[in-house]
């Protein structure tokens, strides 16, 4: 019968299998699609919550499909960090599906709605597969599933430009996947295994630390995954993609896809290659340290100069990815856990910001910042949620953004890299410049009389935004829970 560890496979299977049924549901009745996907993702959410409980109480789950022993079976694994990622994925996909119920009404034909939800569920399943894989090739397959569905999701917006931005994303993403596959090939040719732990063992056993092929594979995999995770010099697809895509997709993409990629990047460089290679032989952590400094400052400056709010949020994402990478660059236990905490916080904050912007887009169809004049009086709740998330990104206590930024600054001081603490401080001020501009315009300027018909968006749009905004504050107080989970996982990551 079903043991508790068997549930891990269901996190992948439930969304993937439901995705295949959704075109059928769309054929029968298009309103059914939303209900079916909400139902399926709710089941996954319950399963992942249960899994989180098991993992916290009993430790890491290792599961071998086909029942063979590790080198021959496909291993999937969930430690505390993985479970948090799975929870974030499922929660955000669920909220996106609820959010889309009214948002996509009138934007797609009835038949296309089924495909839209199918793609979102495919994305959720692929993400979960990508996250829980403990073997480098299954990671690649999950990466491809999620990439192909995200290219399509970005391209299917009704706007004309969306197709071009989706095409650009596809071209860059395809090069990234090819590089990743090539890196996997180099790893396999040298070690003869694909399992993460096995790879790490073999690299040490066969004394491959200085082998050129292993270092080439490191370069290829880091480059490939950096394209997917929009790390600074490779971020160019992101602003174009987000400015044209549908708002729920922006939230999903900047909330979880880039995060999952960066999560897997960190996981691979630490578990497979080990600290000796990435710190001494090829100083990837040092490279990441300086890249993150440039990304944080430049991303903020780019964001200030934007007039389109979606583009602004996209550049803000570039800067926030810099913070996560800064955690790797500091490369102490504290720094890495602060980086991961910021990863989860960024999921919540950025999704909340995009959801709030989407509420405005739903009612007024505007994305230029100057048009936000007086919106706060018409849509007080939406803009309040927006402000909470914005304050969180700036790093005002008692929100979650403050906690992770403070921890990052503390960690960089602790590692005697005080320069980066200053960068965090400057970047917070820059963040404040562009977010307070919007808050100011929307609440404190404009007349009340014009356009009386503008009111709050429907509840299915408002409630997901509200949930995320409240989570921002809750995690600001309850941060020790995720932090302790992350720290437990990181103990085994850095040895």
């Amino acid at each position: 019968m079903f043991g508790s560890s068997d549930l891990l496979i269901l996190v992948v299977l439930v969304p993937l299998i439901t995705a295949y049924f959704l075109p059928l549901c769309g054929y029968i009745r298009s309103s059914l699609c939303n209900l079916v996907s909400v139902f399926s993702l709710s089941i996954s959410l319950i399963i992942s919550l249960y899994l989180a409980k098991i993992v916290v109480l009993e430790g890491t789950i290792q599961y071998f499909t086909t029942g063979f022993q590790p080198p021959f079976a496909i291993e999937i694994r969930a430690d505390q960090l993985t479970v948090l990622m799975v929870l974030a994925t499922i929660l955000l996909s669920l909220l996106t599906v609820i959010y889309s119920r009214y948002f996509i009404r009138g934007r797609f034909t009835e038949e296309r709605k089924g495909l839209y939800y199918a793609l979102i569920l495919l994305l959720a399943g692929g993400l979960n597969w990508f996250i829980i894989a403990a073997d480098i090739f299954n990671m690649f397959v999950g990466l491809e599933i999620l990439s192909i569905s995200s290219y399509t999701l970005i391209g299917i917006s009704q706007k004309r430009k969306a197709i071009i931005s989706g095409f650009k994303y596809l071209l860059m993403g395809a090069i990234g996947s090819s590089f990743t596959l090539l890196g996997i090939g180099y790893l396999y040719i040298m070690t003869g295994t694909l399992n993460f732990n096995d790879l790490a063992l073999r690299i040490i056993e066969l004394n491959l630390m200085h082998s050129e092929a292993i270092l080439a594979s490191l370069a290829f995999i880091v480059t490939g995954l950096s394209i997917k995770s929009a790390i600074f010099p490779l971020h160019v697809w992101m602003p174009d993609a987000y400015s044209e895509a549908l708002v729920p997709i922006c939230a999903l993409s900047s909330g979880i896809i880039v995060e999952a990629a960066v999560y897997m990047l960190i996981r691979i460089i630490y578990t497979v290659y080990g600290t000796k290679i990435i710190m001494e032989i090829v100083p990837i952590t040092t490279i990441f340290l300086y890249i993150s400094g440039i990304a944080i400052i430049l991303g903020s400056f780019f964001a200030i100069s934007q007039t389109n709010i979606k583009r602004m949020l996209a550049y803000s994402s570039v800067s926030q990815m810099g913070y996560i990478i800064l955690g790797v660059g500091i490369s102490t236990k504290l720094g890495l856990s602060a980086g991961f905490l910021h990863l989860f916080n960024h999921t919540i904050m950025k999704a909340c910001l995009f959801f709030a912007v989407g509420g405005v887009v739903y009612r007024k169809g505007i994305t230029e910042i100057y048009e936000f004049r007086g919106i706060g009086k018409k849509m007080p709740w939406t803009m309040t949620f927006f402000s909470i998330a914005a304050l969180s990104i700036i790093g005002v206590p008692p929100t979650n953004g403050f906690v992770s930024k403070f921890l990052l600054a503390y960690a960089s001081l602790d590692a005697e890299k005080w320069f980066f603490a200053i960068i965090i401080l400057i970047s917070s001020l820059l963040n404040a410049v562009y977010f307070f501009k919007i808050i100011n315009i929307s609440f404190f300027s404009g007349k009340k009389e014009e356009e009386k018909d503008i009111k709050e968006p429907p509840k299915t749009i408002l409630i997901p935004t509200g949930i995320l905004a409240i989570l921002c504050i809750i995690i600001g107080f309850a941060f020790p829970i995720p932090l302790s989970m992350i720290e437990t996982a990181i103990k085994s990551l850095i040895t």
Partner: protein, 143 residues
């Protein structure tokens, strides 16, 4: 634009002879996949290529009559459903996911062979429907 209907007697006759053989070969590749080269994916693509050949020598609309959208949408989930069902059945009989040898119906190796064949057949159907769908939606009329 040239005439809308374009028919070639030679191509149609040869296609009529070839299509049954392609279908037979596709089914062979699917069901013999665990003993010789081949399997669900290759066989599915070969099956789909017969339909593509048909729609190349005839009109596309005529082929879409055979494979209506409703039909394709029903065919598509078959493979994943069978795979998930058999995989979860193994968990039900206290094995791991897709641990065929735990299934109690036949001996260890026979059960593995039988379940792999069933799964491959399902995958073949799914791949066929998917490739045909891609072909029709890419080659269909502009909306």
């Amino acid at each position: 634009m040239p005439a809308d209907r374009w028919e070639d007697v030679i191509a149609q006759t040869i296609a009529r002879l070839l299509i049954p053989m392609i279908l037979l070969y596709g089914i062979y590749v699917i069901f013999h996949g665990h003993l010789s080269p081949g399997g669900g994916f290759q066989g599915g693509v070969i099956l789909a290529s017969s339909v593509i050949l048909y729609s190349l020598v005839h009109e596309l609309d005529q082929a879409t009559k055979f494979f209506k959208k409703k039909f394709r949408v029903i065919l598509e989930p078959i493979g994943p459903i069978i795979f998930a069902f058999i995989g979860l059945l193994c968990i039900f009989f206290s094995g791991n996911f897709i641990q065929y040898s735990k299934l109690p119906f036949l001996g260890d190796k026979e059960m593995a062979a039988v379940s792999i064949t069933i799964i491959e057949a399902g995958i073949g159907v799914t791949v066929m429907a998917m490739v045909i769908s891609i072909f029709f939606s890419l080659g269909g009329r502009n909306r």
